[in-house]
Amino acid sequence: MSALVFYSLSAVVLISALGVVLLKNTLHSALLLGLCLAGVAGVFASLGADFLFSSQLLIYVGGIAVLLLFVVMLSGRSSELKLRQVNDQWLAALLICAVTFLGMRRYIFEAGTAVLTASPQPTTAALGKLLLGEYAVPFEAVSLILIAALVGAVVFSKARERKP
């Protein structure tokens, strides 16, 4: 049963990821990105990381994917739809991905033998204690990062007066 779940989820994730990368129409690829992220959330669920599942859904699918959609629509133009979306260095990129995959295959087989042992417990409480205990400083650091990003977004998007 869990095999069926895993394969279907990974199919969803990989196919939509390929869609994101290869489709001509940026709008479609943005939508497919949302689907892919949802798939990833499913994978988290299958791995028993319940808090991750929910935060992935909330932040990625709800937040980032939607944001991407808006920006695509804001900047996209119908004339560009039929343009080829893949630039001319795809052969080089393909070569690099292949080589990297060979490198990765080594460690996949090296670490792949582990099998499921304990059953998953709820992680939310432990995460909460961890964030406010040992990981207090990283937590504050993330808040600083978010504020910086916020300020950045404000600065870039404010209407610029044209220089005379």
């Binding site: 004339s79 080829r84 630039n87 001319d88 260095q89 052969l91 070569l95 690099i96 990297t100 490198g103």
Partner: protein, 653 residues
């Protein structure tokens, strides 16, 4: 008296500096040249006194005083004087001729704008020559040797406005310098094995027998010193500079290229005779060089028409004789000839000078019949000619006969060649005298204009003429010269005894050669009609061309100079194009190339291997070309490439 011998060299030096820097006025009016003449007079007097002391045995001979000059690495270089019989006679010859030439020059050079500087150079030359004669240290001798070379360069090129004197001066200096290289290496070799340059200590090293130094060393040093002597005394390969040195003023030729400087080479061989005693091969080399030089020079003199060139070739020939004398073991005879030759050759040059002074040309073809116009010069020149040709009982005869005697004892074949050369000597001397003074004048306006030289010039001629006649007799009388000038006591006795039992027909041989030369010259040039001479010349045209061309020596040296010039140009081209390019521009090139490769690598690879697709057309926006390297995606590709290289790095482990 002998204690102050070093002043003989120093005073003229001081005089030359005083004259040079004395007054600004360079012309005849300044009185400083007289100071030079006076100083030289004092030196002459002083040398005569020293000679008297040496001959009478009052002065302790060899007189040897030194003071430390400088130390270097455990050795000490000293500066000092070493006077023996030879040196005493050389002192007299040099000071005498120098004094007479300076007096003669007062008249000869009176119109010259740089009159004062001429006398400064003359004093400087005399000082360095005297320094060479008296010095006890071979290095100091070499120093004076080079200073003599420089003063001859300055004096030959005295009228430097003209290109010929300037070129002749340079040629003289370079050719003698070529010889000096040999001398220099000889000194180095000597010092390497004897660790001293002192002429008093050196003989001990050479008598210490085989163990002390390898056998080849004395011979090598002897031959190398001979190169130096050959350069300075214009022996066979390196004589080319002497005929051209005639460009200088005639008194200069008289002093330097007749009596003193050219004799330095012979004096050097004499001074270092102990080396040649230890190296018989080197001695024989000296003999052969002397013989060949004498023969060749005599033949060349026959073909020359410039009066001073004839005398120059004659000097080269007589020097050859001296070297031959020394080479065959005749130490005394060689030096005796040197002394007598100093007098009559100076006389001949000065007479030639007064002739040129009168007719303002050197070319004998424009002279003739001057005996009536210049009786005194004619008579003195005739005496000089008789002396040099070997007229019996004149000074030349004594010294030449002594040399021929020693040559016969050494090898009869060389004696015959020497005899033939003596005959040739007589022939070309009388050819000169007859062409200049007898017969009808071939250039009438010059003949009209000619007149006898003023007394300040003719008096020195008479003095020298007297010496040419009586010097031989005086010195030969009861072996005064042989006694003083001999290489070690044993040689003196053996020399005198050899003269006693030589075959009596030998003495008449020299007189026969003299008579033959005189008769031939009289037949061809004496009677005024030169038809036979010119016909002879036409028939032997081939021979005459070789002689005029000085056996190709000149052409050889010119070729040598041109070759070194082209080698220099080639090396300089090599230096600025190859080495400079490899090292410097190459380096800059390398960095540039690397930079280009790096940029090419950026453009090519980062541009994507498959760049075929045309640029994307866009409505509006900036139509910038694709090739701008600023594209961000290529940077990403570059980063990804690095990561994939890392992955392969992993796989290799």
């Amino acid at each position: 008296m002998i204690k102050h011998v070093h002043w003989i060299a120093l005073l003229p030096l001081i005089a030359s500096v005083v004259i040079l820097l004395g007054s600004r006025d360079n012309t005849e009016k300044s009185r400083l040249p007289l100071l030079g003449v006076a100083v030289m007079g004092w030196c002459l007097l002083h040398s005569l006194l020293i000679l008297a002391g040496v001959l009478s045995g009052r002065a302790e001979v060899p007189f040897y005083r030194t003071l430390p000059w400088f130390e270097f690495g455990g050795f000490e270089m000293t500066l000092g004087v070493l006077i023996d019989g030879t040196a005493a006679f050389m002192l007299v010859v040099v000071t005498l001729v120098s004094f007479l030439v300076q007096v003669y020059s007062l008249g000869y050079m009176h119109a010259d704008p740089r009159f004062k500087r001429y006398f400064a150079y003359l004093s400087f030359f005399s000082a360095s020559m005297l320094g060479l004669v008296i010095s006890s240290n071979l290095m100091a001798l070499f120093a004076c040797w080079e200073l003599v070379g420089v003063s001859s360069y300055l004096l030959i090129g005295f009228w430097f406005e003209g290109d010929a004197p300037a070129y002749a001066g340079k040629k003289a200096f370079i050719t003698t310098k070529l010889g000096d290289l040999g001398f220099f290496v000889g000194l180095l070799l000597l010092f390497a094995y004897a660790q001293t340059f002192d002429l008093k200590m050196l003989p001990l090293h050479f008598q210490m027998g085989p163990g002390h130094m390898p056998a080849w060393v004395p011979t090598a040093v002897g031959v190398l010193l001979l190169c130096g002597a050959a350069g300075k005394s214009a022996q066979v390969p390196l004589f080319v500079w002497l005929p051209d040195a005639m460009e200088g003023p005639t008194p200069v030729s008289a002093l330097i290229h007749a009596a003193t400087m050219v004799a330095a080479g012979v004096y050097l061989v004499a001074r270092t005779y102990f080396i040649y005693q230890a190296a018989p091969m080197a001695l024989e080399a000296v003999a052969w060089v002397g013989l060949i030089t004498a023969a060749l020079a005599a033949t060349m003199a026959v073909a020359a028409y410039d009066i001073k060139r004839v005398l120059a070739f004659s000097t080269v020939s007589q020097l050859g004789f001296m070297m031959l004398g020394l080479g065959v073991g005749g130490y005394t005879s060689g030096l005796f000839h040197l002394t007598t030759h100093g007098c009559f050759k100076a006389l001949l040059f000065l007479c030639a000078g007064s002739v040129i002074h009168a007719v303002h040309t050197n070319d004998m073809r424009q002279m003739g019949g001057l005996s009536k116009k210049m009786p005194e010069t004619f008579i003195t020149m005739l005496i000089g000619a008789f002396a040099i040709a070997g007229f019996p009982f004149l000074s030349g005869w004594f010294s030449k006969e002594a040399i021929l005697h020693d040559v016969y004892r050494f090898s009869p074949a060389m004696w015959c060649a020497a005899l033939a050369t003596a005959a040739l000597t007589a022939f070309y001397m009388f050819r000169l005298v007859f062409l200049t003074f007898l017969g009808i004048s071939r250039d009438h306006p010059r003949w009209e204009h000619a007149g006898e030289s003023p007394p300040v010039m003719t008096v020195p001629l008479w003095i020298l003429a007297a010496l040419s006649i009586f010097a031989g007799l005086a010195l030969e009388h009861n072996g005064i010269f042989a006694g003083a000038v001999c290489f070690g006591p044993a040689a003196a006795a053996e020399g005198a005894e050899a003269v006693a039992h030589a075959p009596n027909w030998l003495a008449w041989g020299a007189v026969g050669a003299f008579a033959l030369g005189l008769a031939a010259a009289w037949r061809l040039y004496g009677t005024g009609d030169l038809s036979l001479a010119s016909s002879l010349k036409r028939s032997l045209a081939g021979v005459f061309d070789i002689l005029e061309d000085r056996y190709g020596f000149d052409r050889f040296f010119l070729a040598l100079v041109r070759a070194s010039d082209s080698l220099a140009a080639a090396l300089y081209w090599f230096d600025s194009n190859i080495i400079d390019a490899i090292f410097v521009d190459g380096w800059a090139l390398a960095t540039r190339a690397l930079a280009e490769v790096q940029r090419f690598f950026d453009d090519f690879f980062v541009d994507g291997a498959v760049d075929g697709v045309g640029a994307l057309t866009r409505d509006g926006g900036l139509g910038l070309s694709r090739l701008m390297a600023g594209k961000v995606q290529e940077y990403l590709l570059f980063v990804a490439l690095a990561v994939s290289l890392f992955a392969t790095f992993i796989m290799t482990r």
